[in-house]
Amino acid sequence: MNKATSHDGVPLRERDIKTIVNAGLARRHAAERRFRWYGLIAISLGLAFVVLMFANIIGKGLPAFWQTYIQVPIHFDAAVLDPEGNRDPQTLASADYGALVRAGLRQTFPAVEGRLPLRALSALLSTDAAYELQRRVLADPQLIGAQQEIWLLASAAVDTFVKGNIDRTLDEANRPIKDQQIEWIDQLRAADKIERQFNAVLFRNGDSREPEQAGIRGALMGSFFTLLVTFLLSFPIGVATAVYLEEFAPKNRWTDIIEVNINNLAAVPSIVFGLLGLAVFINFFGLPRSAPLVGGLVLSLMTLPVIIIAGRAALTSVPPSIREAALGMGASKLQMVGHHVLPLAMPGMLTGSIIGMARALGESAPLLMIGMVAFIVDVPKGFLDPATVLPVQIYLWSDLPERAFVERTSAAIMVLLAFMILMNGLAILLRKRFERRW
């Protein structure tokens, strides 16, 4: 009965089976090894992409945290700044600081003559140099009449050259920095009057058309206000929804609809939320375009499903015995939830919310729809000021061809990723610290 038969019904002897199996064994083992390798290769590819992307962006962005400055002797000439000598702030604010910068440069290079060479000389410094002097004088009018060596911001072209990103053997017409200017830079280098300092401008300024003056302060503040609105709206509403669905809702059609809805919302493309924001918040309710308030509203609608789903998972992990004990002691249902279940589920809910907020921080597509893509120089001060957010700033800069902007884009990405790592790290920490096994 128990005799093995081959396909055509002829009985097989044990030895035959062994030969057949053994004959195929090498091939099968080779196939097994191959398959294993495919898996390993797939994972390595995935991990390689992670490493490659981080290396690529850090390699590009790291130099942007340093910025070239040139030391220039500045004489705060009273005849230029304050001819009447009454220290009137109005006069001081509108004085010709550019003249001081030019005079200082000419003092450094006395040999330069002629209109064009002088202009090329001025182009070594950023247009911000004059404003820097203005700021210093307005902060301290005592400076007037003094002679000081001051480090002034170099122009983007000089900065790019000093960082070694412009080939000096290139044809002069094809590079943004000319032979004569290179000569001057070499002289400055020899005299130790050119150096790289920490790029505080990046964190102090809003956006600018001049790369050396462009910063992410405005975008950071915009992101902060937007996320604040998002958190204030989505966290309470999300927690309340999770509590209602998990603890109070009767199991009927209506709650079924809500559940299906939430799951579907979690998978709706983010850009569709942008369309909703444009049509409802801006065109229907007439809220201002580009405002962090509207951005926050849109993002909170997007974040809600994430918080609700995480919140419900956290609530289900609280064992029923806790609930029964509370009810047995005579607590009302709401007291049971508020005093016992919610505090125990809170770490899980917070973890989910932080992850949702991190995702909202990196979101940009829906914000493009509601006008947060404008070129905004001023740092926003409130929820209704026109603003942009960090990812959108990255998008805006990535379109600009200058090498210095590529650098800054990568630096902005590094800042964004740092925030996201921070938030996710916080979430992991929370989970590790408060996770409870029942």
């Binding site: 097994e32 294993r36 992670v50 309340a240 929804t241 983010s270 609608l301 709401l334 990196g362 884009t409």
Partner: protein, 459 residues
């Protein structure tokens, strides 16, 4: 001004809580057991009566006031300004608002405007002052009512819990309202669009050039709204993305769940999931500035013409982004296959890879298909990568080396920048949004259903 009012209201409510509690003790002659509810509930009861009605009035008032003020100011304008067509009138109102805000405007010297601005400012001040008076007196009236209502027999806990319950239910309907909002906003604008462009032309037309003519004799400005090239471009890029993501994601999931040591798995799984956490704008930057030039260089080296915004670059990078979706979803599915099926296969002498391909994959297939569908819907809706790395020109081509455009790219380009709200150009974006919403919704529903059904099979 208004935040300050809210703060005052908050303080008042806190005071009301304190007063309510004290009142409860007073009416109970100091014995809590005489009360129906705990004293803190009487406090909350008073706080709610103080805060809620005032807050409601505040919200309504703050929403209505700007429009009312504008209407009154416009009514006070001289007839030649008042009877301007709406869009010109809006300009005048904008000027007025700037004038009120203290900004410099061209019409600052116009006495009529200055007078109107003065009026505006006065009305606004009156409105704000009245708001303060009304809200604060309502709050105090609320406290007074609660003070009188508090008695040992008052069922304060039930009242307070009733309010909280209403808040909970209202919160849970937000998700419904969001969906309704999405559907209404997209459908409504799309209907306006389809009134100008027939549905058939939109869905099956082969020409896409949404620029409408400024002048009748302009060249290439016919305003053709055939969306097939966009659908084709979206499919092409998503297809490339899936070609990258499915093999890598699936093989990674298989390796991690079947071969990897627990230690390696503990390291590789979160590391791979980093890819899901990176913002899409970063992928877009990577695609546009690193991958696209690289592909172009390689293409030129082997003598192929590659567009600088090729579909290949965008698709490749999108594929990388989607790897963790495929891998983590398939991982769940593979882990859900019962161990007994593996054991049965091993007992028959199958190797691991044979078990995987002959037993595990067929058993997990519905779930894997579901996860792939979810990944496709993610790819179709993805925006930033294609906006930054794919082109704008609507080519109808299957060549991955050429530039194509996608639905999401067109939505972004049609809606960013200046726009009039009723031109077919902006409305077209909503029609595209409708298509996108419907397609992703269908994909998600199918995927979720498949996955759920499959899960039930083994539970």
């Amino acid at each position: 001004m208004q935040p300050f009012l809210l703060l005052t209201l908050l303080l008042l409510s806190a005071g009301a809580y304190y007063l309510g509690r004290r009142r409860a003790f007073a009416v109970a002659d100091g014995h809590v057991r005489n009360l129906h509810s705990l004293p803190s509930f009487y406090g909350s009861y008073a706080a709610l009566w103080c805060g809620l009605p005032a807050l409601l009035v505040f919200a309504l008032w703050a929403a209505a006031q700007p429009n009312l003020v504008v209407n009154w100011v416009v009514a006070g304008l001289p007839p030649e300004l008042r009877d301007l067509p709406p869009d010109r009138l809006n300009l005048v109102i904008n000027d007025l608002k700037n004038l009120v805000g203290g900004n410099f405007v061209a019409s600052a010297s116009d006495p009529v405007m200055v007078e109107a601005a003065e009026r505006y400012r006065r009305l606004q001040a009156i409105g704000n002052a009245a708001l303060w008076v009304v809200v604060l007196s309502l709050a105090i009236a609320g406290i007074a009512y609660a003070w009188r209502a508090i008695s040992p027999a008052l069922r304060a806990r039930n009242r307070v819990e009733g309010v909280i319950n209403i808040f909970l239910i209202a919160s849970s309907t937000v998700a419904i309202f969001t969906t309704i909002g999405i559907v209404l906003s997209v459908v409504f604008e799309s209907l306006l669009f389809f009134r100008q462009v027939p549905v058939a032309e939109f869905l099956f037309g082969l020409q896409w050039s949404p620029q409408t003519a400024l002048r009748a004799d302009q060249v290439g400005s016919s305003g053709a709204f055939g969306a097939v090239p966009l659908f084709a471009g979206t499919l092409l890029i998503s297809g490339i993305a899936m070609l990258v993501a499915v093999p890598i994601g699936l093989m990674s999931a298989l390796y991690l769940s079947e071969y990897a040591t627990p230690k390696f798995r503990a390291f590789a799984k979160p590391a791979l999931e980093i890819l899901a956490g990176i913002p899409t704008v970063v992928y877009g930057f990577f695609a546009a500035l690193t991958v696209a030039p690289l592909i172009r260089q390689i293409g030129t080296a082997v003598g192929l013409h590659v567009a600088s915004e090729s579909a290949l670059a965008a698709g490749l990078v999108m594929g990388i982004m989607i790897i963790p979706f495929v891998s983590s979803l398939s991982d769940d599915v593979i882990n859900a296959v019962p161990q007994s099926m593996r054991d049965g296969s091993y007992a028959l002498g199958a190797t691991k890879s044979e078990t995987i391909t002959r037993v595990l994959l067929p058993a997990a297939l519905p779930g894997i298909v579901g996860s792939i569908l979810l990944a496709i819907s993610r790819a179709i809706g993805e925006t930033m990568i294609v906006v930054m790395a794919a082109g704008l020109s609507a080519n109808l081509t299957a060549n991955p080396l050429e530039a194509v455009t996608t639905v999401t790219v067109q939505i972004v380009t049609l809606l960013t920048g200046d726009q009039e709200f009723d031109s077919p150009k902006t409305l077209a974006a909503f029609a595209l949004g409708l298509v996108l919403f419907v397609v992703t919704l269908i994909l998600n529903i199918i995927a979720l259903r498949v996955v759920r059904k499959y899960r039930e099979q083994y539970e």
